[in-house]
């Protein structure tokens, strides 16, 4: 819940901490997210300023959800920088889901740089318990 009177604190963009090395130039940032769930769905809301809908990719494999986005914004070469307080870079973040998701009904909506992904649940993920037999 946002408090209307509170001022927004300035926060540096968090660089994505990944063990894998980047194969393309440029920095990769981790978008700020809200994650919440109710009985029916898990929702992830991510701030990805500068990213048009064509450049967003949402991928769910096994139980890992990956969000990525490439901003369309770039600074033309003929402009000389006076002050630069943030860098433009790709957004990338992944999440491990503990619920079984109805993959066919995942919905995503992008509005002014805010991505909202709704992941409907099928049911609780069943823990894979392995029975050990003994002679």
């Amino acid at each position: 819940m946002a408090q209307a009177t509170q001022d927004i604190q300035a926060r540096d963009k968090q660089e994505m901490k990944s063990n894998a090395e980047q194969t393309t130039p440029g920095r990769v940032f981790s978008p700020l997210v809200d994650i919440f769930e109710d009985d029916h769905a898990l929702t992830i809301v991510a701030d990805m300023p500068g990213v048009p809908s064509d450049n967003v990719s949402i991928d769910l494999q096994e139980d890992v959800l990956t969000l990525s986005g490439v901003p369309s914004l770039s600074i033309p070469d003929n402009e000389e920088t006076i002050v630069q307080e943030f860098e433009i870079g790709k957004f990338f973040r992944h999440f491990t889901l503990s619920e079984v998701i109805d993959q066919a009904n995942i919905k995503a909506h992008l509005n002014h740089g805010v991505l909202r992904v709704t992941l409907p649940k099928i049911g609780p993920a069943k823990p894979r318990k392995i029975q050990i037999t003994e002679n």
């Binding site: 209307a4 927004i8 630069q84 509005n111």
Partner: protein, 153 residues
């Protein structure tokens, strides 16, 4: 700024002691000699929203990442060389029944003031808001533009 650059190291190529040192030296001298530093404009940030200010011969350009705003929540005002960007970012509260796991996005009011190096033509300032990025184009005032003087022999 410097700290962030240092952090960026592991993501760039493989480690090579001497060239990394070279790079650090280059970065340092770049920092110390940046046009911003020369113009005395290198103010500490720490105020939301962060800005990227550039210029060409005709205009100044201010870009800022402010995702999830509506146009009526954003306000840009300009007088002389003084620019103010203010607004209020509302994070829509969800249903009471939801359980939050993470809440990193922040809402609230913000106000950012910035002084450009020269005056601008206030009547011709343009602002665009697209994909959550605000861009303000501020044409330099006629008096502030570089003028070519013809030399008579």
């Amino acid at each position: 700024m410097l700290i962030r650059r240092v952090k960026a190291w592991p993501y760039e190529q493989s480690w090579n002691g001497f060239s990394e040192l070279d790079r650090l030296r280059r970065d340092l001298s770049e920092l110390l000699q940046s046009p911003a530093r020369q113009a005395g404009l290198d103010m500490p940030a720490g105020v939301f929203p962060f800005l990227h200010v550039t210029q060409d011969h005709e205009n100044f350009y201010i870009r800022s990442e402010i995702p999830g705003m509506t146009l009526d929540q954003l306000d840009v005002s300009v007088t002389g060389r003084h620019v103010t960007i203010s607004g209020e970012r509302n994070i829509v509260s969800e249903d009471q029944k939801v359980r939050y796991h993470r809440r990193e996005r922040e809402g609230g009011k913000f106000r950012r003031q910035f002084n450009l190096p020269t005056d601008v033509d206030c009547d011709k300032v343009e602002a665009k808001y697209r994909h959550g990025v605000l861009m303000v184009i501020l044409p330099k005032a006629e008096s502030a533009k570089p003028r070519k003087i013809s030399i008579n022999g």
